[in-house]
């Protein structure tokens, strides 16, 4: 809020400069620059294979861009890695869930990687919120695909990160689950958080939302 005052000097939360990604001889995108400010929600659009997942992984620093930079509060991500990772959370296509651990243990393990602790009753509360009440001591391999995704939603809520990077968060969720994600995003934004996400299924957010659209893959040989 204070920063807004002299917005001329505002440093965006996340910024990309001339990003380029090449996979298997195909130029997926190049010269991709955009910024994300606090409280902004950004959807990455694009057809299948247009490079959304690749872009998100580059934003996270899990993949190297073939050219260009990703800046966190004005500094190269690889330089301020610790600060960046402490404030960012990424949830991708993959489950990140151990079938042999219970719901509760899975959440604890995920939080542990971020060195975060959460009291049991808070976890219980969040589990109820995402529709997993009563499943806290069920081993995760006995959960359905949608239920497993809901564990990740709980993790997302508990981690309290400032920036969410979500790759198709609606996968496997039922109608109620979709509504839940929408609410979560709205509340996150109200609390000043930002988010970048992809989805193929129209997400209806009653708020301003920027979009970045990636071109169709395979058209541009590089």
């Amino acid at each position: 809020m204070m920063v807004e005052a002299d917005s001329a000097h505002t440093i965006p939360l996340l910024e990309t400069r001339q990003l380029e990604c090449v996979r298997d001889d195909r130029l997926l995108f190049s010269d991709l620059s955009f910024t994300l400010t606090e409280g902004e929600i950004l959807q990455i659009e694009g057809a299948n294979g247009s490079g959304k997942t690749s872009l998100l992984r580059i934003l996270c620093g899990l993949r190297l861009a073939d050219a260009g930079q990703v800046l966190w509060r004005g500094e190269e991500v690889s330089v301020v890695r610790e600060d960046y990772y402490a404030n960012m959370i990424y949830i991708g296509h993959l489950p990140c869930i151990k079938g042999d651990l219970t719901t509760l243990e899975n959440i604890r393990a995920l939080l542990d990687t971020r060195s975060q602790l959460a009291p049991l009753d808070e976890i219980e509360q969040v589990l109820a919120l995402v529709g997993l009440a009563g499943f806290d001591d069920v081993t995760s391999k006995a959960l359905s695909s949608g239920q497993r995704r809901r564990i990740l939603l709980a993790f997302l809520l508990l981690a309290k990160a400032r920036l969410w990077i979500l790759d198709e968060p609606l996968t496997a969720l039922d109608v109620e689950g979709v509504a839940l994600v929408e609410t979560m995003l709205l509340e996150h934004r109200l609390a000043g958080g930002s988010a970048i996400f992809t989805t193929h299924h129209g997400m209806q957010l009653p708020c301003a939302m920027s979009t970045v659209t990636l071109g169709r893959a395979g058209n541009q040989p590089c």
Binding site: Y90, D100, L101, R108
Partner: protein, 223 residues
């Protein structure tokens, strides 16, 4: 940071204890392979005694090798490894925690059961201590060096044998000195040199391998 270390260690241990048979498996494999030999060669006491250090060490090495997969593979496939790499804590610490867990679950049991197998294969009593000591110094190196190999092959599917191609050559010095120590001890000679060598290798591996592993993970897990 210490907390990140101990939490991850605890998670891996808990995961292992959750499937309890899994826990005993490297041990059982070790025992099984060692006992294949008396079956496969004519079981005379002298012959077995000469073979014993080699057989025990080779079997230990193979059972560590076989269990390496559980270091990162699963984490890579289910995406947990991504989360580890996105942790605000240094990756080296997390790698070290995972390697520790791996050693506690595979190397340590081997060290503890080795005397029994040694006795089966007529290793003289005075060499049993050296057998344990050499394994105690050697198996952590196997876990540490193995971690490098696993991290390099984590993105390759069906990398099982590729892993052994990469890792076995690096294991050979440990094998030679470990088995030789037992051999020499059976003859009643001093083994200070061999044990010092193993100790030095352990110190080297402990300081360099986690670093190399962390670097390798950042390289290979980019998908």
């Amino acid at each position: 940071m210490l907390k990140a270390f101990s939490h991850l260690l605890a998670r891996d241990l808990r995961l292992a204890f959750r499937s309890r048979h899994e826990l005993a498996n490297p041990l059982i494999f070790f025992v099984l392979v060692v006992s294949l030999f008396p079956l496969a060669v004519a079981p005379s006491a002298e012959l077995l005694q000469v073979m014993a250090p080699g057989v025990i060490w080779v079997s230990a090495l193979l059972s560590v090798l076989l269990s390496l997969d559980r270091l990162f593979k699963q984490d890579y496939e289910d995406g947990s490894l991504d989360q580890l790499m996105l942790s605000p804590n240094p990756l080296v610490i997390l790698v070290l925690a995972k390697v520790c867990a791996h050693w506690l679950l595979t190397g340590l049991p081997l060290v503890l059961v080795a005397p029994l197998l040694g006795m089966f294969l007529y290793v003289p009593d005075e060499a049993i201590g050296v057998l344990m000591l050499s394994l105690l110094l050697g198996t952590p190196v196997l876990s540490l060096v193995g971690a490098i190999g696993v991290s390099l092959t984590v993105a390759v599917n069906r990398g099982g044998v590729l892993l052994s191609l990469i890792v076995l050559p690096l294991y050979i010095p440990v094998l030679i000195f470990g088995a030789n120590a037992v051999d020499v001890a059976s003859d009643g000679l001093s083994v200070r040199g061999q044990l010092l060598f193993l100790g030095a290798v352990l110190a080297l591996a402990l300081s360099l391998a986690p670093l190399a592993t962390a670097v390798a993970l950042r390289i290979t897990a980019s998908r």
